[in-house]
Symmetry: C2
Subunit: 251 residues, 2 copies
C-alpha cells in the first residue's frame, strides 16, 4: 500500500524545453522495458517503438510537427501500431491474417496497446527525473512520417514522445483537469445537460484563473473557448485515408 | 532519479481472481484523479470513467464479456471515449463541433486519451496493493454496453478494468514479452523478415517454456501459434458500424 505513484503522477506536466543532454542507452532500454510490461490485448503486442537520436531524422520529423522540441530533447520516441511482424508469421495464412489486421477492432487494439506502452514509459521517465511531452503533431503528415521512418504495411505512427532533463528555467505546472464529478459517473452515465454545463462553467473559471496567474494577466482563456476554437478548425481530415492505405479500417 | 516505477511496472501481471473486498470510495477517487493527471491531447480531455459497484449492472456486463471477474472484483471501471460534454458547450456551433467529433482523427484522440487515463489508474492501483485486469471483452457487444450504461451519442465504451485485492491463492506471474530487439528500432524501421522471424522463433521457445513450467507440462503453446489461432478467428467485425452509430469515423 503506497501512494508513491499517485503522488508522482499528480505532479505530471508536459515539458517542452530540455537540457542538451542525450539519454544514455541503458535508460532508453529501461524505458522500453517498462513500456513492454504494460498489459497487451490478447497477448498480441501490436506495437513498435522507434528510438531516434539521428539529427537528420529529427530534423525531418520537426518539419512535420513544427515543434522545436522534436529536435531539442534528450531522446525522441515514435510509437507505432505494428502488425507487420504478425504478417510474417505464417506464409500459408498470410492473406487471412492480413484481412484480420484490417478490421477496425484491430485498429482499436493497436491504438490501445501503443498508448499503454507509452504511458508506462512516461511514468517511468518522470520517476527517473526526466520530463516528457507527447507529440500528436506527427499525425500532421502521416505519409511523410512513414517515409522518414521507412515504415512497412500494417504499421501506423500514432504519436511521438520527447524525453529529456528539463531545462533549468523550465517552469511548467500541472494544468487543472476537469473536476472529478464531470468525468466520473456512478453505475450509469449522467446525461443531465444542465449539470454538465454548470460543472463546465465552474471549471472554465478555474482554467481562466490558472492562465491569468501563469501569464500575469496576458491570457485568460476559458477551457470551453479553447475547445471550441480548436474543434472548429477541422484537424487532420486525411486520417481515415492514411489508415486505409496502411492496411487498417477496411471493415 | 528513482527506479521505483520501473521496478513496480515490471512486476505487472493481470489479476483475474480477487478478494470479496470492495474498494473504499476514497481509493476510487484517488485512482480517477491519478488517471486524469495523464497527458491529454490538446487539453480536450475526451474521456469519462464509469465506476460500477451495482451488482445488477455488473451482472449485465458479465453477460457481454463472459468473464467471472467482471462480477467478482473489488470495483469495476468502464472507460468511455467522450465528446458528449463537448457537444453541450456551444449551441450555435453544435453542428460544426459534432462534425469534428466524427473524424477518424478524433477517434484516435479519444482512444489515446482514454488509454492514458486507464494506464495511470492501473499503475496507481498496483502501487496501492491492488491487482487489475483490462476487459477488452466489453467490445463483444458495444450496443448492449451502451444500453446498460445509458451512454449518449458521441461516447464509446472502449474497455473495462476490474480492480481489487488479489485472492490469497492468486499466483499470476509476468508473462514474457517480445525481446527488446524485436520491438525497438533505431532511427528507422527494421524490415528484414529473416531477422524478425529469427527473433520470433527464439521468443516462441521462451513462451513455450513459460507455459510448460506454469502448467507442469500441460500447455506448451508458442506465441506464434497463439497469435495465429486468435487472428484466424475474425473478431468483433461490427466495430466500424458501432463506431459510426456512436458518431465516429464518418470521415
Amino acid at each position: 500500500m503506497s501512494d508513491y505513484v499517485y503522488n508522482l503522477l499528480n505532479k505530471h506536466h508536459s515539458v517542452r524545453r530540455f537540457k542538451d543532454q542525450p539519454l544514455p542507452d541503458e535508460d532508453v532500454k529501461k524505458l522500453v522495458e517498462a513500456g513492454q510490461a504494460a498489459s497487451t490485448s490478447s497477448y498480441l503486442q501490436t506495437y513498435s517503438v522507434i528510438g531516434i537520436d539521428d539529427i537528420e531524422v529529427k530534423d525531418s520529423l520537426k518539419e512535420v510537427s513544427g515543434q522545436p522540441y522534436v529536435v531539442k530533447n534528450g531522446y525522441l520516441f515514435v510509437f507505432v501500431i505494428d502488425f507487420y511482424r504478425h504478417s510474417l508469421m505464417d506464409k500459408e495464412k498470410r492473406e487471412e491474417l492480413q484481412e484480420s489486421f484490417g478490421s477496425t477492432e484491430n485498429l482499436l487494439v493497436g491504438s490501445i496497446d501503443v498508448a499503454l506502452v507509452a504511458q508506462n514509459m512516461a511514468a517511468t521517465a518522470e520517476d527517473m527525473g526526466y520530463g516528457i511531452v507527447y507529440l500528436g503533431s506527427l499525425r500532421n503528415d502521416v505519409a511523410r512520417v512513414k517515409e522518414i521512418l521507412d515504415l512497412p504495411d500494417y504499421t501506423f505512427p500514432l504519436f511521438g514522445m520527447a524525453v529529456g532533463r528539463p531545462a533549468d528555467d523550465e517552469q511548467g505546472t500541472a494544468k487543472p483537469r476537469l473536476p472529478f464529478e464531470a468525468v466520473f459517473h456512478k453505475n450509469k452515465y449522467i446525461h443531465d445537460a444542465d449539470q454538465h454545463q454548470a460543472l463546465i462553467r465552474d471549471y472554465d473559471q478555474v482554467v481562466s484563473s490558472y492562465y491569468d496567474q501563469r501569464t500575469n494577466g496576458e491570457r485568460t482563456e476559458t477551457w470551453s473557448n479553447q475547445v471550441i476554437n480548436f474543434m472548429s478548425t477541422k484537424q487532420r481530415l486525411d486520417m481515415l485515408d492514411e489508415l486505409n492505405k496502411s492496411g487498417f479500417i477496411h471493415k
